[in-house]
């Protein structure tokens, strides 16, 4: 799969050259750094604040980046017809989708790594010690990464069916809805209509359940992630990404570029 690797590496190169991405990372690091300031104000919960704010920053900025590069490097390419150069070469359409996705994941990985380093720098500055329990946030960051992997796969899917702006909007909407799926299912269960109950339950399983991966508050209070949850969530993310990418490939194979 030489071509897939070429597309992935090239996507990565194109992504990291974008100035906006750099700005986002700088902001993220600033946010994480500011956690130290906040913590000095509050008494007794310094570490909680640093972990809370730091991890939330990684999550929020990670989301912005994921949507940004997902749309910028797939929807925009399709929209601006830069894709003619690629598709007129001996590249299968599914290779394009998979290569793009892998390149985006690589970019996200590097960015998250940078933010994680910043996070731990802030944490060590705050606590001035390194114990085994300080590695707990790594699990949470891993969960954030899984969330972002799903978000990017959604961005790729929406890119194949609509314009850059709409794709960004759809992806963001699904992300938000994906956090309230249990509320939605409960609402569905309390109504009388069987059809609504069924629809709510179906949506609960169909849409990506992002709240599975929300662990920031717990981590700030010292909770550990169980091994089963780690494995289950990883499996969930892998399955969902596979499905989103498969759906994208299905659409993309038939897509015409007028």
């Amino acid at each position: 799969m030489n071509r897939v690797a070429t597309i992935a590496l090239h996507t990565f190169k194109e992504a990291v050259r974008d100035k906006v991405l750099y700005n986002l990372i700088v902001f993220a690091l600033l946010m994480i750094g500011s956690a130290i300031l906040f913590s000095s104000i509050s008494v007794g919960i310094q570490q909680i604040i640093v972990v809370d704010l730091g991890l939330s920053s990684i999550s929020v900025f990670g989301l912005i980046m994921a949507i940004f590069i997902g749309i910028g490097l797939v929807a925009k390419e399709i929209d601006r017809r830069t894709i003619y150069h690629v598709l007129s070469k001996p590249v299968r359409r599914f290779e394009f989708i998979i290569g793009k996705y892998l390149g985006l994941i690589l970019t996200l990985l590097i960015n998250t790594l940078i933010m994680t380093v910043g996070f731990y720098a802030a944490l060590f500055y705050q606590t001035r010690r390194a114990g085994l329990e300080d590695f707990a946030p790594l699990g949470t960051i891993y969960f954030i990464l899984l969330q972002l992997a799903i978000v990017v796969s959604l961005a790729v899917f929406f890119s194949t069916i609509s314009t850059p702006i709409l794709s960004a909007v759809f992806t963001f909407c699904v992300y938000v809805i994906g956090h309230f799926l249990s509320e939605m299912r409960w609402l569905g269960q309390t109504t009388g209509s069987g059809a609504v109950k069924g629809a709510a339950a179906a949506l609960y399983y169909l849409l990506p359940n992002f709240s599975n991966f929300d662990f920031i508050t717990q981590t700030a209070h010292g909770e550990r992630i169980s091994g089963i949850l780690l494995v289950s969530n990883s499996l969930y993310a892998l399955l969902y990404v596979t499905m989103a990418i498969s759906a994208a490939i299905l659409v993309f194979e038939e897509r015409e570029f007028k």
Binding site: T6, K13, T82, H85, L87, S88
Partner: protein, 326 residues
């Protein structure tokens, strides 16, 4: 084996928001392009030239009909290893440099990187971008982008090249360079298939052309044969004619005065000798006498104006491609 062959290629789009109506942008197109020739697809804007190219490159799918490229069916992606494509008004990745982009293109052909870089350097020189190798593409002018487009179309040393409006955005020097490039390709044995609405370019380069109008082919064949039938007119240039002579010449043809020189277009061959006699009899000097063949533009406009019935069209097409059996 033909380089490109299409049979009954048709493309319909459904237009309209609520009730979708089919709009036919390509109607039963039948093309035959020989290997090693320069083939021009001509037509006004909106005729379906770009649609044809996109179908051949699998960017859009035909509603009906078939096509073969280098003997292989359309759905065979491996054919792309042997062809190159320059899209109209190409757009690129803003943040890569020209070298990186050609590197990428080479990678998509699975070229080993050293070979890819070598070819890239050579191509950049060929299209006149040798000094712009590491400038990011967002700083390129339209002409530079066009040249880069050409370079990426040739990175795999293709047997068949598709060019959509290759001269667009170029200054006269650039167009000359591209023309030379195309002739070089032909000399190497590469088949060139290009679409354009600039007839003078086609006239200068093409061995065979096809004329497309509103999705239908309205003329196809060797350029020489299409323009051969008869001399269009004779052009006589004389110097310092007197008014008496001019009056005499007016009924014979169009007279254009440029300073001391006068140019007369004599449509009827039989009138030419009479005109020459009159001029010789006067004090005016004959500068030149030229037979002007029908230009491609004339032929083109005539085809478009006629439109004609299906039978006439078929006859014309048959005549133009006459002698070419399957």
């Amino acid at each position: 084996m033909l380089a490109v062959e299409t049979i009954g290629l048709t493309k319909d789009y459904s237009v309209g928001f609520w009730r979708k109506r089919p709009k036919r942008v390509l109607d039963g197109l039948g093309l035959r392009v020989e290997r090693g020739e320069i083939f021009g697809l001509l037509g006004p804007n909106g005729a379906g030239k770009t649609t044809t190219l996109k179908i051949l490159l699998r960017l859009i799918f035909p509603t009906s009909g078939t096509a073969r490229i280098l003997g292989k069916e359309l759905h065979d992606v491996t054919t792309h290893e042997r062809i190159g494509f320059l899209p109209e008004n190409p757009s690129f990745y803003d943040y890569l440099t020209a070298e990186e982009f050609l590197d990428y293109a080479g990678g998509l052909f699975s070229l080993p990187s050293r070979e890819g870089r070598r070819r890239a350097a050579r191509l950049l020189e060929q299209v006149g971008l040798a000094e712009s190798g590491n400038i990011p593409l967002r700083k390129f002018s339209k002409g530079m982008l066009q040249r880069l487009g050409l370079a990426q179309a040739l990175i795999n040393e293709p047997e068949l090249v598709f060019l959509d409006e290759p001269m667009s955005g170029l200054d006269p020097l650039g167009r000359r360079e591209v023309r030379d490039l195309i002739l070089e390709l032909k000399a190497k044995g590469t088949t060139v298939f290009f679409s354009t609405h600039i007839l003078s370019d086609a006239e200068m380069l093409c061995d065979r052309v096809a004329i497309l109008n509103r999705g239908r082919m309205q003329g196809c064949g060797e350029l020489r044969e299409m323009l051969a039938p008869g001399v269009a007119s004779t052009e006589i240039v004389i110097e310092s004619p007197d008014l008496v002579l001019l009056d005499q010449l007016k009924p014979c043809g169009a007279v254009v005065r440029t300073g001391a020189r006068v140019c007369i277009q004599v449509p009827k061959e039989s009138d030419v000798s009479a005109v020459l006699e009159r001029v010789l009899a006067s004090s005016a000097k004959i500068i030149s006498v030229n037979s002007v063949k029908m230009s491609l533009e004339d032929y083109f406009l005539a085809q478009l104006a006629q439109g004609g019935t299906k039978e006439e069209e078929k006859a014309r097409v048959a005549q133009a491609t006459g002698g070419q059996q399957h």
